[in-house]
Amino acid sequence: MRPPGRLSASVDDRPATPTGSLAIELRKVSKWYGDFQVLREVDLEVHRGERIVVCGPSGSGKSTLIRCINRLEEHRSGTIWVEGEELTSDLRRIEKIRSEVGMVFQSFNLFPHLTVLDNLCLAPQWVRRLPRAEAERNALALLARVKISEQAMKYPGQLSGGQQQRAAIARALCMNPRIMLFDEPTSALDPEMVKEVLEVMSELAEQGMTMMVVTHEMGFARAVADRVVFMDEGEIVEDAPPEEFFSNPRSERTRQFLSQILDH
């Protein structure tokens, strides 16, 4: 076990800069919903410790892309490796990869019948087989880091949206994941609660967590991302560091998208 109270996975044993081996690798990944092709031969490399922001118009396949990485969606062709393990239909391998990859959803998806503390302890107890006392200690430390310690004994229905999303982030971190996936984590929040969630995410990024974030928060992308990936019609159209992405996008589609979301 890594020491409790750390927000992220250990940084010491893996490089924080994109020089180490790959955390996520996608080769020619395609997927269809019926006749509609949502992903078109997507190639993507994410290095350990890298922060990737994925953006694009709705229906561009960005959510599908990150949901393929922990196999909430099954890709039809191509290959996905997560931490060197290939994603196949082998259930044991999928469960192992899922326990190494944390996910945060747009609609929080906390378990409403459990207290916040039990939400955080559930997977460590049943998947990692941790003693309750240890799971609780880690959970309380993480709740302190996302600044909702006083909510531990409450039920999700008693929390505000921002508090629920921070609890959901803490729940994912309880499994000590190597990679965190965020699927539009602030889209369901009231504007005044977006900031508190983004702060937690920025703090996580500072500690060297490998992150893939689907979001329209361009301020967050500019400040935190190592690379911004722009998707349209199931393809990666642009993949560049934020300064280049915002000041000098290569493709016309990226320029159009940026002008739509930035000029208003």
Binding site: R98, N109, F111, W126, V127
Partner: protein, 404 residues
């Protein structure tokens, strides 16, 4: 009405009383009270008319009234008795025999239908096409057949096909199956029985302690211990050991196969088997649908969140989905329990001695006291149903989600 007018000024104005009357007529509170008063008067008048009519008719036909008949001797036999009864006992005693027989069928039916219903409901959602279509066929066939017809099918088509007593099927331990039921040896208490009973209780206590220990052990270490085989060993071993040590504290009365019948022993009536099976299978089909819709009513995001944390499908079902589905399942489940209890009165059609068959059937015929008998029977079902509802509501309240 002008603004700023004082009350006194309004009083003094001509036509003010008419305005006040109008405001009373159009006041929803006043209207509500008036309507209810009218309704109460109408109902009381109707009830009075019925009661006086009935008393007149009874007096004219010279039928006795009152509950004195419960003390009179019944004079008829009942084929299945859970409590001591003979035909020299009272109608009141016969009523209790019928009531316990109804409770037996309802209790057995509710427990069995719940297990089968949950199993079929979960099977209905299986990703295995064979399993889910078998479950679908079960549900669609069984819930669309009238329950009375099902009882006839099981009782007349299946159980009446068993051999007559002379040609009984002989099973090990001198047990017999024939058209009159399954007869097994009957245990008779002997000295030393107390010690045996205590051993059984100790065994149950040990299993409960084991369950508590296993939970503590899991919380303390995170590992689950394989306690189920141990529990089964204790449950079977403790009575067996006590039976041997206490020197066989009870003996068995073996049934004997006579020329026309099997005498002695304990007999499981085919009527009980048919009624329990029919009600169970029929109700389980409805419960299965409740379970399916309850599970489907849990948002998909819950399954995804559980999967994303690395929980297996079975763990997600047990720890996340079913606990949330229960609050959707329990209210309609209560209805099914009530239906099963009330449907048990179909017993009369195949001759199982339930409350309706014994009390509203035989006793009503013998005493002619229709009103008292029917009222008591209705009151019994009402009490049973309300008790079931209260219990299930209490359970449902415990399941409810905490919101702000």
């Amino acid at each position: 009405m002008a603004r700023g007018e004082s009350d006194a000024a309004r009083e003094a104005r001509p036509g003010a009383w008419r305005e006040r009357l109008a405001s009373l007529v159009f006041d929803p509170r006043v209207r509500g009270i008036a309507l209810q008063a009218v309704l109460v008067v109408a109902i009381v008048a109707f009830a009075y008319e019925i009661v006086s009519n009935v008393t007149d008719n009874l007096a004219r036909q010279q039928i006795a009234s009152g509950f004195g008949f419960l003390e009179r001797t019944a004079g008829f036999d009942i084929s299945q008795r859970l409590i001591a009864y003979s035909n020299t006992m009272t109608y009141g005693r016969a009523f209790l025999v019928g009531l316990t027989n109804t409770l037996l069928v309802a209790g057995l039916g509710i427990v069995l239908a719940t297990f089968i219903g949950f199993a079929v409901g979960i099977a209905r959602l299986s990703s295995n096409a064979v399993i889910s279509s078998l479950a679908a066929i079960y549900i669609e066939v069984l819930r669309n057949i009238p329950p009375l017809l099902m009882l006839f099918a099981i009782y007349f088509a299946v159980l009446k096909g068993l051999p007559d007593p002379r040609n009984s099927v002989v099973l090990p331990f001198s047990s017999y199956i024939n058209v009159r039921g399954l007869t097994v040896p009957k245990p008779l208490m002997a000295p030393g029985f107390d010690a045996f009973a205590i051993a059984v209780l100790i065994g149950l206590g040990l299993v409960a302690a084991l369950a508590i220990w296993s939970r503590r052990h899991r919380l303390a270490t995170g590992r689950t211990a394989p306690v189920v085989p141990l529990a089964v060993a204790i449950l079977l071993g403790a009575p067996a050991a006590a039976y041997a040590v206490a020197g066989m504290p009870f003996t068995f009365e073996a049934p004997t196969l006579g020329r026309f019948n099997v005498t002695g022993g304990l007999t499981l009536l085919p009527e009980l088997v048919a009624l329990t099976t029919g009600l169970t299978l029929y109700t389980a089909a409805f419960i299965a649908e409740n379970v399916r819709s309850g599970i489907e009513g849990v948002p998909k995001g819950q399954t995804e969140a559980a999967a994303a944390l690395g929980l297996s499908r079975a763990q997600a079902m047990r720890l996340v989905i079913v606990p949330q589905a229960l609050r959707i399942i329990v209210p309609p489940l209560t209805n099914q329990y009530l239906n099963l209890t009330k449907n048990s009165s179909l017993a009369v059609a195949i001759g199982y001695p339930d409350l309706v068959s014994v009390f509203s059937g035989t006793i009503l015929n013998q005493t002619n006291q229709a009103i008292e008998v029917i009222l008591i029977t209705m009151a019994v079902y009402l009490v049973l149903s309300i008790a079931t509802s209260l219990l299930m509501n209490w359970f449902n309240a415990r399941m409810a989600l905490v919101e702000r």
